[in-house]
């Protein structure tokens, strides 16, 4: 019988491994963010010490989580009534988090709408929801065309493309194919599941004369003949001109392909600057996204991560959280953010600093910000999938672009309707 008691003891010990308790400070606020090495070190080494020195009695606990799983981490915590006081969210997730009551509106006395609209870049208006501001960014991003300068020169092209026609010619000249006709170097690193779906939605459609959505954001309007022509122009790059292939690199990593010199040009966001700068051996440059004709409509997709105040922050924690929010979106912090992380400041004033606009790398992105639009996503995952699938229907299944676009529009309209219907039901 002795062995029974030994076994029970072992079982008891295993089941009773004690937990580690968390300690409580007078006013301690929690700030959540996804992991981004340079941001984490900036926040830990500079921002938090500075803020805590300015605000004795407030302690900021910064917790960060892997990027790819950040949204699900936030969602799970929230569902258990847990979560931070200040949270970093992608602007495209805001409608969902706002309509579910996770966030509280920014207090108008500390963050008056007039001041926000005066100080921040215009696309920030997308964070206005139900007439109120719910969150603010520190930095913003836009798209631009990255090109491999060495390859451009080798192909005898005088300057990076300004129109899509020049872009097509340059891409063709820089594409390298083997004897079997397979691409070994892409002229353009196509990636509908990377940034290209944004390119199609907010840039190509508009340049082809189509507004992708109605002004109130409730109706899909891109499924016109002109919209189909825009989609066809993009898919022709893959099927007819064959200057790139979807999934050319493992994991569809078009950016790694560009860094390795296997893609001559890519469309990417300003958040890519760091890794391209760090990894690329060849000379490279950035220009604004091409236009349809010389002097034609300029368009860009802008996006940003915002800092929001959660409904959990109440009482003294709310006051402390508001102070932190004010601090982290302030111009001095935006300036530090630019230095340490390389992300463009969200302030109108800082962004028009001539030293920044004249910068060969930041310049084109800043120019793009002036006319960038941030899509009002109600269900980013699903809406993204719709356009990625539309491209694949044309490229893989040889569907007519108009038909693919009609189907995509029907699917996306359903997603929008569902959101607005639910919202309409709420008081």
């Amino acid at each position: 019988m002795k062995s029974v008691w030994v076994a029970i003891l072992i079982a008891g010990l295993i089941l009773a491994i004690p937990g580690i308790g968390a300690s409580q400070q007078p006013v301690q606020i929690t700030y959540w963010q996804y992991f981004f090495a340079s941001k984490v070190s900036l926040i830990h080494k500079q921002l938090i010490p500075q803020f805590e020195a300015q605000n004795p009695g407030i302690k900021v606990v910064h917790e960060n989580f892997p990027y790819d799983a950040y949204n699900q981490k936030v969602a799970s915590a929230v569902s258990a009534g847990q979560g931070p006081d200040v949270v970093n969210l992608f602007y495209g997730w805001l409608p969902l988090y706002v309509s579910s009551g996770f966030l509280q509106p920014l207090p108008a006395d500390v963050f008056p709408a007039t001041a926000i609209e005066r100080d921040f870049v215009p696309m920030i208006k997308n964070s206005k929801y139900d007439g109120k501001y719910w969150a603010l960014p520190t930095a913003v991003r836009s798209l631009a065309l990255f090109y491999n300068d060495d390859m451009l020169r080798a192909a005898g092209i005088a300057r990076p493309p300004v129109t899509w026609e020049e872009f097509g010619t340059a891409a063709e000249k820089m594409t390298v194919r083997d004897a079997a006709g397979r691409i070994t170097t892409e002229g353009f690193g196509v990636a509908p599941d990377g940034q290209d779906h944004q390119l199609i939605r907010e840039v190509l459609f508009r340049q082809w004369g189509v507004a992708p959505y109605s002004a109130d954001g409730k109706r899909v309007t891109y499924n016109t003949q002109a919209g189909a022509d825009a989609l066809k122009w993009y898919t022709d790059l893959i099927t007819k001109a064959k200057i790139g292939a979807i999934g050319f690199f493992p994991g569809g990593d078009y950016r790694a392909g560009f860094i390795a010199g296997r893609a001559a040009m890519i469309v990417d966001g300003s958040f890519a600057i760091g890794s391209i700068r760090g990894g690329m051996k060849a000379n490279w440059g950035v220009v604004q996204l091409p236009r349809r004709t010389l002097g034609g409509e300029a368009a860009n997709f802008g996006s940003y991560w915002v800092h929001g105040l959660t409904a959990r922050a109440q009482g003294p924690r709310r006051d402390a959280a508001i102070k932190w929010l004010k601090f982290i979106t302030s111009e001095p912090v935006q300036q530090m953010w630019l230095q340490a992380v390389g992300e463009l400041p969200a302030s109108k004033k800082l962004i028009s600093d001539p030293r920044l606009t004249a910068d060969p790398v930041f310049g084109p992105f800043i120019a793009g910000l002036a006319y960038a639009r941030a899509t009002f996503f109600v269900d980013e995952t699903a809406q993204r999938q719709v356009l990625v699938d539309a491209v694949n229907e044309v490229v893989i299944n040889s569907k007519a672009p108009k038909q693919a676009l009609d189907e995509a529009a029907a699917k996306e309209q359903k997603i929008l309707d569902e959101f607005w219907l639910k919202k309409g039901k709420k008081p």
Binding site: E63, A80, G279, K281
Partner: protein, 290 residues
């Protein structure tokens, strides 16, 4: 790793009929195993090779690195909290493996060898718990952990894995081959029911328990979704959660992912090397000889 010069001429317990001299199958077996082994191990070797490439060579189309380096390993070990992640994972994996080995073998034995009302129903019930994807369980677990203060604790990371239905099923299948005569003999010798399990049945299924230990260790070593959800602070991260930090918004650092993955499998290899002997050496069925 085991590689003894020649098999003993005597037919031991583990040497079945296949160990005859001049087995015409043997050369063919080596041929097939070698060919298959090369195919099977190729992606793994690629991982090791990639781990030795500097960043700018990772996307070269050459297989071998032009400038092989150990810098990636150095970077993983010194510039991240890899040792801490490693320690956290080790603690969680060892504790869950011990717990699973004990409970699963006991329950597997009970379901296979004891007779009682509701046995089949209980077995199906346990089996049914395997059929719910973890993805749907993490939120209830989070709510439970939050109510009990288990968030961001080791116990919080490991409690869902302390007993595994997979292992119960595995052991039950193996226990069902243990002859009842052995247990009856034990009863005659005056062993308690627990003694029958501990002293007679358990040694009979040592290979299965060893296999279960390998799988449990590995499963917890690689667990991602639940640890991700329950861990809050940097110093509680387990290996998979830590390695996930290498894929970020600005792209994935595959040279670091490969180096950290290569380092992460070392203890698993060690566990495998230690336990595989148990699997292969099998059992000496002394009880059957009479």
């Amino acid at each position: 790793m085991e590689s003894r010069p020649l098999a003993l001429p005597s037919v031991g317990a583990r040497e079945g009929i296949s160990r005859r001299r001049h087995d015409p199958w043997v050369p063919l077996a080596y041929l097939i195993l070698t060919a298959g082994g090369i195919i099977v191990v190729f992606p793994f070797i690629w991982m090791l090779i990639t781990a030795m490439k500097p960043l700018n060579e990772v996307f070269d189309l050459r297989i071998l690195p032009a400038h092989p380096t150990l810098d990636n390993y150095a970077e993983v070990l010194t510039r991240t909290r890899f040792p801490r992640w490693f320690g956290n994972s080790l603690l969680v994996a060892v504790a869950t493996t011990l717990s699973v080995a004990f409970f699963d073998s006991l329950v597997g034995y009970t379901l296979a060898k004891l007779r009682f009302r509701g046995r089949d129903l209980i077995f199906v019930l346990i089996l049914a718990t395997l059929m719910i994807p973890t993805e749907m369980l993490v939120i209830p677990w989070y709510i439970l952990s939050s109510a009990r203060g288990w968030i961001n604790t080791y116990w919080g990371i490991m409690f869902p894995g302390m007993i595994s239905a997979f292992g119960i099923f595995l052991i039950r299948q193996f226990m069902s081959s243990v002859p009842d005569e052995l247990l009856d003999a034990g009863r005659i010798d005056g062993l308690s029911e627990f003694g029958l399990y501990w002293r007679i049945a358990l040694p009979q299924v040592k290979p299965a328990v060893a296999a279960l230990c390998i799988f449990t260790f590995l499963g917890n070593w690689n667990a991602f979704l639940w640890p991700l959800i329950v861990i809050q602070t940097a110093n509680m991260r387990t290996l998979p959660v830590g390695i996930a930090l290498f894929s970020g918004e600005a792209g994935s650092s595959f040279h670091l992912i490969m180096a950290s993955s290569a380092l992460a499998i070392l203890p698993v290899l060690l566990v495998f090397a230690l336990l595989q002997r148990q699997i292969i050496e099998g059992i000496v069925l002394t009880g059957l000889k009479s």
